[in-house]
Symmetry: C2
Subunit: 178 residues, 2 copies
């Protein structure tokens, strides 16, 4: 098996909030959503549901109830967790489902970037309104919206806390020497 370091892909991804007027090929959209399905999942429960929104009018409606959604993306992927899948997991169930769904979201954003498609994760939206718009049943909860489209530009990297501040070795507060 040949391995290839993808750190440049992970570091290159940016959150995109301005998009140009160019369609995403359907086969790329399919690859992007397929990436989500391959996230790890606690006990392989796979609590996720993905709603692809590519209808322009529906995107506009979702934007109206989503303060965190900027620009004119060509598609949205609404990431949901399905309570019927995780409720047997007890109090930890929903937490692990949220983690699974977030890992799926990261797969989606990295795969998008690797195809030249910009994305942004959005947590600030009216859940009840989105549920009603997309006819999401009671036991399914939208937790993140990923906007997708070609960026008008790739922004500079955001400032990041330095490694020496966030990475510790064998105990908290002991510096990690890279």
């Amino acid at each position: 098996m040949g391995f290839e370091d993808i750190l440049h892909v992970i570091k290159g991804r940016r959150s995109i909030r301005e998009f140009i007027d160019k369609e995403i090929p359907r086969e790329h959209l399919t690859k992007i959503v397929e990436a989500g399905v391959w996230a790890p999942s606690g006990s392989n429960i796979q609590p996720w549901e993905f709603i692809v929104v590519d209808d322009v009018k529906m995107i506009e409606k979702v934007k109206l109830v989503s303060p965190g959604l900027f620009g004119n993306p060509k598609a949205l992927i609404v990431i949901c967790v399905n309570r019927a899948k995780y409720e047997r997991g007890g109090s930890q169930g929903r937490l692990i489902a949220l983690m699974d769904a977030s890992m799926a979201a990261q797969n989606i954003m990295l795969e998008a970037y690797s195809l030249g498609v910009g994305s942004c994760p959005i947590a600030s939206f009216n859940k009840l309104a989105v549920k009603e718009l997309l006819k999401i049943p009671e036991h399914v909860e939208p937790v993140l919206i990923i906007s997708l489209g070609y960026p008008s530009k790739w922004p500079d990297p955001p400032k990041r806390r330095p490694l020496k501040e966030v990475v510790h070795l064998n105990e908290y507060g002991r510096p990690y020497e890279g």
Copy 2:
């Protein structure tokens, strides 16, 4: 900017629970933890802290309090969220911090795989005991442990719910045609 589809990397990653006795080069461990720092973060808060555990005795101690930790990994990355970073975010703050940390975890596991290193995300561990072992302060909460090492083999892919079951188009229950 040249883009390269990484879907094979995303689909190739596996959760690994048996490791061979081979050290991870320090420069690879550094790349793996650096990948975590480049996850998206709501309002760029970066609520994460990463504790790299490579001391064999400490790994053994963490194993004793972590029912979900299998095999003999060469390193652990304990992913924490720092309440001091997210508490101004109100009730949504911790939730978004958990999502950020989970996306960082996925970056870590994908980067590891891309370097040939196996990993497994572990949510089943005694948080209080891990806090005590690693001298984690009160306001910092370990949420996931990632085990790392070279696998004794790459397992077959786990069964996944088919795309036509988990992907919906423009409304829940309406099939997405790939």
